[in-house]
Subunit: 482 residues, 4 copies
């Protein structure tokens, strides 16, 4: 029932959140302040680093760094930010090896024709190719970030073209992969989404201003009205407080279905479907596909809670609160004593004996990755007196790499690759297990999109991923000790 | 459905959490490490400061400071802690004016006959009297903390007596008020609870060790078995890994009922009653006392969630998730832009339109203090499209001061003192309001205790509070700028 | 030629610096600001911790902590200090084991009759005795600091007396040892010096204010006029901007002669004798007592420089600059690589080849403790091409413990206790060595005082030190990890 | 007599320090540790930021940041540095607007053919031109630093050439201005100096290793033997522990004479002349040119002390110590109370009355910029009782901009541009003033170089500076709040 991002021992990490805001001259919107609140609302999409760039009459001022929104965008620093008419912001998920201030976004580039700032939720399969090509031409890279590759290519194209829109359109032709991005030039904010529409991106309107945001929850946070989603392949911009479509797009066919399963906030609406409703629906579909005799349905906090209610409703088994998450742990749980490692699930998650003791429990969770967390949770419930534990998972088993930003680890670590499904329940100490089928997973979001990217479950991706293996080969010849 | 401590714009703050652990010589229990986990589990009882003191063969080593458990008890500092056979720990709630490292507990006192450490969840009504008396006799005070008063009186009594138990018993005769405390001498750990039993305190057992803790959730965190609650007025100690009752106690008649309403964790069991169950029961009692025609019952996160399920069950109205709390905000929400103040509820709490739009909503919350938070939440729901909002509160209206540790502000700020109950719904924009009656509040916890302290609701307190007004008069002639 | 406190690998550490300032109601003196500048000027007397307490109409506000003056007394904290009519300040030298914020001064004590603050440059030989006595009577100690013992005894005496002066006089009767101190009560500032006058203390006057300070350099720093030194055994106070002698004193007979040799700043004047002049005189006396044929006289920075000029003048050998100290190192030199230890003298001190190459060098330094530093400096000069190096030391060899605040380490580590003087030159690689005789050392300061404490050289102390050995036995049963 | 860099209220700031070290495979030299010590010794050349890059088999690891050497290169970070066979380091002076971690050196560049690191003491007059040219070709700049311009041009040239040496030589043809630099490629360290030899650079040798350093004091710090200065226009490298001249150089004709006057450390030897000796000589020349009847000659600490001795020797007037600098202030003096501003000279500098009272004083200082500091020092001496104060300055009056790295502020602020020399003494309250003539200034360093850059005194520069005015126009369209 909640923010969906602090999962216990989360083994799936992903995504970034982006935001852009513009205002008219006479509006008193505080574009930096609103950006802050929006990033707070998008924090679940990335907790490693964050930043805001404001454009004050062509002067771009940035705060960015490693840490959560309130830790990086401190009142002291925010007070030094100039007022401006537009601003973009970013929260970033990053694999541990890339948590570094230099990788924080927005990327700001000074080029021969001016300045541009970029915030992107992106994963390019041809990043290394583009990078090497530009290096041959005398562009030097500071980061290991795809966003830098994108920003530099756009800036290079700008040198040869007459407008930022033209430059962007030319650059996008070269990008293969997933991206939702916002660009800020000295006078404009532009948004673009890849042709498959892997990552969400929506448009909102305030009195006297416009907004682009990864999720609608950021619109709510700033009191903006939802206009529509940016289309797949679309380039759309705000010029003089008017929303102008520079290049038409289409209905996405490659939206990452995991946005509904886990990534997005339940109070967001993506491509016309409430995430909360999608999860309840997943629970209902699970109940139909994998019924079981039981006394209580509980959810694994936080992302399993909505689906558990759906399962309960559909099955008629009462919904209960069986697991409590320690709200103080969040992302900061530190184990000071290594030998105590086993204890960590107990610290983070507490069973409510009242709900569980002597009961046959249906435990609804969003996914199984390595299986170790689920195993510990099942054991916790059994130790608290559950008579039976039936695992119900609101997605199919993970079997394949994601090339588009979701870091689920190496295929050989995935539980579904180490054993047949029928052995998984026993391996985790559960009495039964049921996964949502691929078909039902696609139905979860009520059919607004006609198709989704389900590559991590099926191994079939919406675009060619053959170049993607090269991505790991970015040289690590340059390191900085912070 | 959860930790109960990060309430939105929480206006009630209270309590402390205490913990003690002992082990036998040959046990490999890590008393410092377990203490850490236990304090994590008790964090909801106090977020201002915390600390641990370990006793290694008579040498007392302490880490304490201002901040949350992981911020104060860092791995670097924990690594410097000696092993030992016993340790005590504390998490402290403090009014803002007293948030200072010097006030953090455990209090450690070096006296002529040795050393003692104290961790107490306490509020004495005669603290000033005791303090002045000791000052006249040449004892000097460093803090504004009742725990220092207690520790010094115990230490002074120790000078005149032959044992720490005797000293403690003599000192306790002088303490008027609420306290659950643990004391560590060079060789023993002793626990005591005031004659009314205002504050919870329980006993647990590990293989090769014993535990005292404010709540049973701390026993779970370290894998200990629950033995029993310490009785009101009891003095009980661990000597050579044996549990010895030094002074008999009785069944509490003054336990703070607000422990069940708000303070304690739902997975704790206090005086034989699960807090989770008590809250569900409160919801059921509310549904009987204040029924209403509605489409959905939702809870105010986090402490209203259990009761909302009880209300739903009893009333037959479906339970729904209507409000999401931003998990990243917790206690650290900082508003960088003052003018945006109005926005803060929106940042912390998000309505799920799906659940609310066009619906008649029952909103279950634990209490109304000044009323401003409830008003904002009601408005949020209305803006999100709720057709009606019916407030149901799982406690009576606050009308009187608490002298025993719960800081609910000045009586004149309490909404129930500014208007009759019948006007409160309108003042908050709600369509109706219903409070749990005093009688039902006492029934919430299923009658295990025969009576409770309900002074903040009734103005009648279990002990004489006439000296308590002096407490505010502690001189503030000494300040330190940190 | 300079501040005398950053000696290279200094093996002698000592002392504290104290300061007090009062002003009339209508004066616009900033007592806190002036205190800051004064502590900066006294920084050489103690670099471990520092603090200021200001008295604003009876409310005592303190900033104190571990670190240098600008690190502890930051602009942010200083801005929060109230204005007031009087303030006292302290810089503290501390042995490493006692560097802790809790030991920083001023000590502020809240007692039954009010409040007092104390800043003391002190070393009591009967501290443990006093402490144990008070502990028996119910006084509890937070620190391992003699200043706390003094403050508590004064506060206890205050309970039995009618004035702070009376209390102070009674307490002083119990103090055996060295002390110069200032006390601030809600309405007065009082200064006192022990009967031998071990530590310096002087009185200054500003328009509309008075000052007590350890050295006259602090008077200069705030633009005050020197009035006179406080006498040994004197108690003197400022009441309503009048200087009142509460108890008469005498000419000191036990002033620590090492103040002239090393401790004090050259621009200070102590008991009528300029420290700069005393050092030049020491150089002249050395030249007479230990002449040598040489080409150049150089000083070991910083405290040997004045004396080197005196030696040069008297001997007719030219003065030269042969050693440069790296100004960036000060007290903060950190060796990141342990194996490089040998290098440290080279980093801190650089020979000027021009001055040294092929020359017979007289090197004037203030003292020899363990001998290791001198040995390294001699080697440095030889490696830089010195033909001969003749060590001339402006004090006698250290042979005995100091019980009055100067930490010269254990007697068995002192070079003079490990070998006869005639072997010391060879042991350090020098071509000859000459120490100032005890008689000449006493003459250095031109005979203003009739006698000095020279206990560390002679083993004969002005007072009985037999209880002093107990001081080390303060229990270490209480530790805090910071 | 000392480090020369902490001048009181220093109005001239300048320079950077560079260092490089290589070792053979079998040597146990710790290249990172030695680099640390060397930067400590070069700290006077730049206190704003610093850094080290070590090359461990082609992997470049860097620590850099804003602050002094021990603050940036902490033991914790140093411990994480890999061992390696070569390393380069840098200390940076920067105008306040450019103090930013991103501007810290070494600059490390990843290019299509590998990696290079650069540390440079540089000021290019055509930096903007080069930058714009590269921007047109798709190179993007992160800093406002000339070193980045240099590094990127070298890296671009590397793309078109077969060796780093060739690339460097081609790039150097484009650089107009002052530079001494070291470059590290995966296998080599290369040093180069501009054709005029504005900035010093020397070569040293260790057993099993080679060194390049800005000053010889860094050689001493690591125990290296001085080999020779790098020649003007020379490119010289270390390959397999052999010193190879890639391009021949010449004797410098444009060395900045201010290195002898103020910048360099007195124990360094530049182009065959000891800085200490040069300063004494300046004092002697001043005494001949501007004799005066006086009682004592004193130096303004620290850079006037050597010259004061020269003046005393030549004039026969006794040398004395008249001003003491507070060693704790250094660069960190912070004034917590704005109104006290006037006091700051008193805090930093203390007169020794003994030396000054009633005397006719010759005060030797290195330069006069705005004149405010000198005025305060003169006043200080007069207030301390000096009968007369005669200012003697070891350089000519500043009248013109320096385009090569020394920041002396705007021409209109220079005292020599606001009044004729004959009025300056009166303006500063001095009884007379005498400057070293341009001719004598060039003679100071004993004629080893045949000519110097004296542009700031004469307005005639060794190279065309007409493009230099553009340098200020680097856009400031990108800012980051740290």
């Amino acid at each position: 029932m909640s923010m969906c991002s602090c999962k216990i021992d989360k083994e799936v990490n992903e995504e970034c959140g982006i935001f852009a805001i513009t205002k008219t001259d006479d509006s008193d919107i505080d574009v930096v302040g609103e950006n802050y609140y929006a990033l707070y609302a998008l924090q679940h999409r990335g907790q490693e680093s964050c930043g805001i760039t404001v454009n004050d009459d062509g002067v771009f001022t940035t705060i960015k760094g490693v840490g959560l929104v309130p830790d990086v965008l401190t009142p002291e620093k925010m007070a030094k930010m100039p007022k401006g008419k537009m601003a973009i912001g970013h929260v970033r998920y990053a694999p541990k090896s890339q948590i570094d201030a230099v990788n924080a976004q927005p990327m700001v580039v000074r080029h021969a024709k001016g300045t541009l700032a970029l915030a992107a939720n992106c994963a390019l399969v041809n990043a290394l190719e583009l990078r090497q090509e530009m290096q041959q031409q005398g562009t030097f890279f500071q980061t290991t970030n795809d966003a830098e590759t994108m920003a530099y290519l756009i800036a290079r194209k700008r040198l040869e073209t007459h407008s930022i829109e033209e430059a962007l359109a030319l650059a996008l032709e070269r990008f293969e992969g997933a991206y939702s991005l916002v660009i800020m030039s000295p006078t404009k904010v532009i948004a673009a989404r890849d042709p498959q529409g892997f990552k969400p991106l929506c448009i909102g309107k305030l009195k006297g201003g416009y907004i682009f945001a990864s999720e609608t929850c950021a619109l709510n946070a700033v009191g903006a009205e939802f206009i529509r989603d940016v289309k797949a392949g679309e380039i759309v911009e705000i010029v003089n407080n008017e929303l102008i479509v520079y290049r038409e797009g289409v209905q996405p066919k490659g939206l990452c279905v995991f946005e509904y399963v886990y990534t997005a906030r339940p109070d967001s609406v993506i491509e016309g479907c409430s995430v909360h409703r999608a999860r309840r629906r997943a629970g209902e579909l699970l109940a139909k596909a994998h019924p079981v005799e039981a006394d209580v349905v509980i959810g694994a906090p936080d992302s399993g809670l909505d689906a558990a209610q759906g399962y309960a409703l559909e099955s008629g088994i009462p919904y209960g609160v069986g697991l409590l998450k320690n709200r103080y742990i969040g992302r900061t749980f530190i184990q000071p004593v290594q030998s105590q490692r086993e204890n960590s699930v107990k610290i983070k998650l507490n069973p409510i004996t009242e709900t569980i003791l002597g009961k046959r429990v249906v435990l609804v969770d969003d996914s199984v990755v390595r299986g170790t967390t689920s195993e510990r949770v099942v054991r916790l419930l059994k130790e608290a007196g559950a008579a039976e534990v039936h695992l119900r998972i609101t997605s199919p088993p993970f079997k394949y790499l994601c090339y588009f930003g979701t870091d689920i680890g190496k295929p050989e670590d995935l539980m579904a690759n180490r054993m047949p499904i029928e052995d998984m329940a026993a391996a985790m100490g559960a009495d039964s297990i049921g996964f949502l089928s691929l078909e039902d997973t696609k139905k979860m979001a009520s059919g607004i999109c006609q198709d989704y990217c389900v590559g991590c479950f099926s191994g079939e991706y919406p675009i060619d991923v053959s170049k993607a293996h090269m991505v790991d080969k970015f040289d690590e010849k340059i390191k900085e000790i912070k």
